[in-house]
C-alpha cells in the first residue's frame, strides 16, 4: 500500500515535468530499441547458422580434387579429375574411422518434363550417399545398389524440383528427361532448406552414379570415372581429424604422389567451416551489441542528468518534505523510484520500438530475426538496473541535503 503511494508520488512528479521526463525517456527508448534489435538480428543469424549446421549432417568430411594446373595457370579447386569412385571404395576399406565413403558427381543440367523445363543440380551418387547425409524419401523410395550396378534410369528428386516440374501434381512414376535420356521418378526427398552457402538443397535430382557416368556427366569429361566429391562419414566427431589424415595418406599412395609433392585433393570439414562462420558472426554481434550498449549508457547518463536537474530544481520541495518529517531514506527512495520509473517506461517503449523494428527488418531487408521473451525480460531488467545505477547519485545528493539549507532555497 505504502510503496504504491510512493509510486503514485513518482508518477505525479514525472507528469508534472512532462517535457523533461520525455526527453530523459527518449534516450532510454533509443538505447533499448537498439539493443533489442541488434540482439534479435544476432539471434536470427545464429539460429540460421545452427539450422545450416544441422542440415550439413554430423561427422562429415568432404574430399575434393585439388586445383588443376595447366601451363602454370592454377584453375579453381576441384577442377582436376584426380578422384575416382575407386578412391571412395579404398578410403572406406583402408581407414577404420570411416563408416561411409560416398562418391558424388554433379553438374548443372536442364531437366525436362512434358513442356516444362528447369535447370537443376544433377547429382550421380550411390545409395550410401543418402545414408551419409541421413536423407530419407518423403514419397516413394531411394534407389538401391542393384540399380546403380545396372545403371538404371531412375531418379530421386528434391522438393523444389518436384514443385517446379509438376506444379504440385504427383511426381512419382513420372518421367523426366535430360538430353535424350528419360528417368523414372521413384522418390521425392523430404524438404531440407538452404545449406550454409545459401544454396537450395531441395533443387536437386539424384540418379545412380553409373547412370550419370554412362549417359550425362561422365560423357562430358575427359576421365569418365572421375568423381567430383567423396562424402565421408566418420564414426564420431572426435575421430574426424584422425580420419582426415588417414584419408590423405591413402589417397597420396593411390595417386602415387611423391614425398614433398603437394596433394592433388583436399579434405574439408564442413561443420568446422560453418562453425568458423558462426564464430565470426558472434564477434561481429558482440561488436554491434557493444555499440548499442553504449547508446543505452548514453541514455542512462541522460536520465542521471535530468534527475540531477530535478534535484536542484526541487530543492525547496525536498526541504518541505524534510520539514514535515521525511527522513533521508524517504527522499532517496523517492528520487530513485522516479529514475527507475523513467527507465522502466523507456525500457517498455524501447522494447515496443525494437519489436516493431524486428518485425519490419525481415520484410525490408530479408534478414532473419528472432525476438524472444527472455530477451524482453532481460531488456526490461537492464533498463531498471540503469535506473538504479544512474538514479543513485542524484537520489543520494537529494538525501544528503540539510533541511535548513534546502528550505532556504525557496528564496
Amino acid at each position: 500500500m505504502r510503496s504504491l503511494s510512493y509510486i503514485l508520488f513518482a508518477v505525479r512528479s514525472l507528469r508534472a515535468h512532462l517535457m523533461r521526463s520525455m526527453l530523459a525517456v527518449i534516450g532510454i527508448i533509443i538505447g533499448i530499441a537498439a539493443v533489442s534489435v541488434v540482439v534479435a538480428l544476432a539471434e536470427g543469424a545464429r539460429a540460421e547458422v545452427s539450422r545450416q549446421i544441422a542440415s550439413l549432417g554430423s561427422n562429415l568430411l568432404l574430399v575434393q580434387p585439388g586445383a588443376q594446373v595447366t601451363q602454370g595457370v592454377r584453375r579453381p579447386a576441384g577442377s582436376s579429375l584426380s578422384l575416382t569412385a575407386g578412391d571412395a571404395v579404398a578410403v572406406a576399406r583402408e581407414v577404420p574411422e570411416v563408416v561411409i565413403a560416398a562418391p558424388f558427381v554433379g553438374d548443372q543440367e536442364t531437366v525436362i518434363s512434358g513442356d516444362t523445363n528447369w535447370s537443376t543440380l544433377l547429382a550421380g551418387v550411390t545409395p550410401n550417399f543418402f545414408d551419409a547425409r541421413g536423407w530419407t524419401p518423403a514419397e516413394g523410395q531411394l534407389f538401391r545398389t542393384e540399380q546403380v550396378a545396372s545403371a538404371a534410369k531412375v531418379a530421386v528428386i528434391g522438393r523444389t524440383l518436384a514443385r517446379e516440374l509438376f506444379h504440385g501434381g504427383e511426381a512419382l512414376g513420372q518421367f523426366v528427361r535430360i538430353g535424350r535420356t528419360s528417368y523414372a521418378v521413384i522418390g521425392v526427398l523430404a524438404e531440407k532448406g538452404q545449406d550454409f552457402t545459401g544454396r537450395d538443397q531441395d533443387d536437386v535430382m539424384f540418379i545412380p552414379l553409373s547412370s550419370a557416368k554412362k549417359f550425362t556427366i561422365g560423357r562430358a569429361q575427359a576421365n569418365p570415372d572421375a568423381v567430383h566429391t567423396i562424402l565421408v562419414k566418420t564414426e564420431s566427431a572426435d575421430t574426424m581429424g584422425e580420419a582426415g589424415s588417414w584419408i590423405s595418406r591413402v589417397l597420396r599412395q593411390r595417386h602415387k604422389i611423391a614425398e614433398g609433392k603437394p596433394d592433388d585433393f583436399r579434405v574439408q570439414n564442413l561443420v568446422q567451416i560453418a562453425h568458423t562462420r558462426d564464430k565470426t558472426y558472434r564477434q561481429f554481434t558482440l561488436l554491434v551489441s557493444a555499440l548499442a550498449g553504449i547508446s543505452l549508457l548514453v541514455g542512462g547518463i541522460g536520465v542521471m542528468n535530468i534527475m540531477l536537474i530535478a534535484v536542484s530544481e526541487r530543492t525547496n520541495e525536498i526541504g518541505v518534505r524534510l520539514v514535515v518529517g521525511a527522513c533521508p531514506a524517504d527522499i532517496r527512495r523517492q528520487f530513485l523510484l522516479e529514475a527507475i520509473l523513467l527507465c522502466g517506461i523507456g525500457g517498455l517503449l524501447g522494447l515496443a520500438t525494437g519489436y516493431v523494428g524486428a518485425r519490419v527488418i525481415p520484410l525490408a531487408l530479408g534478414w532473419p530475426v528472432e525476438f524472444n521473451e527472455a530477451m524482453a525480460v532481460i531488456a526490461l531488467a537492464c533498463s531498471t538496473l540503469i535506473g538504479i545505477a544512474f538514479g543513485f547519485l542524484p537520489a543520494e545528493r537529494a538525501a544528503r541535503l540539510e533541511p535548513s539549507v534546502a528550505l532556504r532555497h525557496s528564496g
Partner: protein, 241 residues
Amino acid sequence: MKPLVVLDRIFKEHRLGGQAVQALARVSMEIHRGEFVAVTGPSGSGKSTLLSILGCLDRPSRGDYLLDGEKILQLPRRRLAELRNRRIGFVFQSFNLLPDLTALENVGLPLFYRHERLRNAAARARMALEQVGLSGRTDHSPAQLSGGEQQRVAIARAIVNDPDLLLADEPTGALDTATRDMILALLVKLNRIGLTVLLVTHDSEVAAHAQRTIRLRDGQIVGDSGMAIGQRHSISLEAVR
C-alpha cells in the same frame, strides 16, 4: 511542570565564504507548554537560526537543547526527522506548500511520512482543514488558493500530527492586514486549546498577540517579557560572572 523546551547556552556559527559568523551566542531559554511566545528582533539578529534549531532543522554548534527532556544534539538525522514529524509543526512566510499536491494531500504529507494508513490519513487531514476553516477547499491546488487560504492550509499541515510545538516564521509577512489578523486569530485560537506557539516576527503588532516576547539582537537575548523567575536569576548570575 517540566518545561517543553530548554535551551542552555546555545551557540551557532554559520560559515560564510570561509568566515565564521556568530548567529547565536549563549542563548538560554525555557518554554512551557501552552505558552504563546513571540521572538522579535531586527533582521540578522538570529531569529531564523533560533527557529531552525528549535525545529530540529539544524543543530547548534555548542550548547544543549532539550525538547521534552530529550537531548537533541547527538540525535541521528533519522530521529530528528521523526521529531519534526511528530512533535513540531512549521509555518513559513512563503507557505511552502507543494504545488503538485492538492490542499488535502499537502496537509496529509506529514501523515504519509509517519506511515499512517491512507484512509486514516485522509480523515485526519480533512479534520485539520476543518479546524482552519477550509473544509470546502480540500481538492484545490495551492495555485487555486489565495495567500490567506494557502497559509491556513500550511497551518493545517502543521497541526495535523497534533504537535507539541508550533513554530511560525513570519507567518503573516506575505499577507495583507485583514488576512494577517485572521491568521493571527487562528494561531491564538489554537493556542487557547492548548498548542504551544512560538512565532518569529519583526512586526510589533503581530508580536502583541503573544503573551510573552523575547527580543534578540546580534544573536543574543536582550529582553524577555515573561521569563520564569528562576531562569532570569540564573542568567543574571551568568552575566555577572
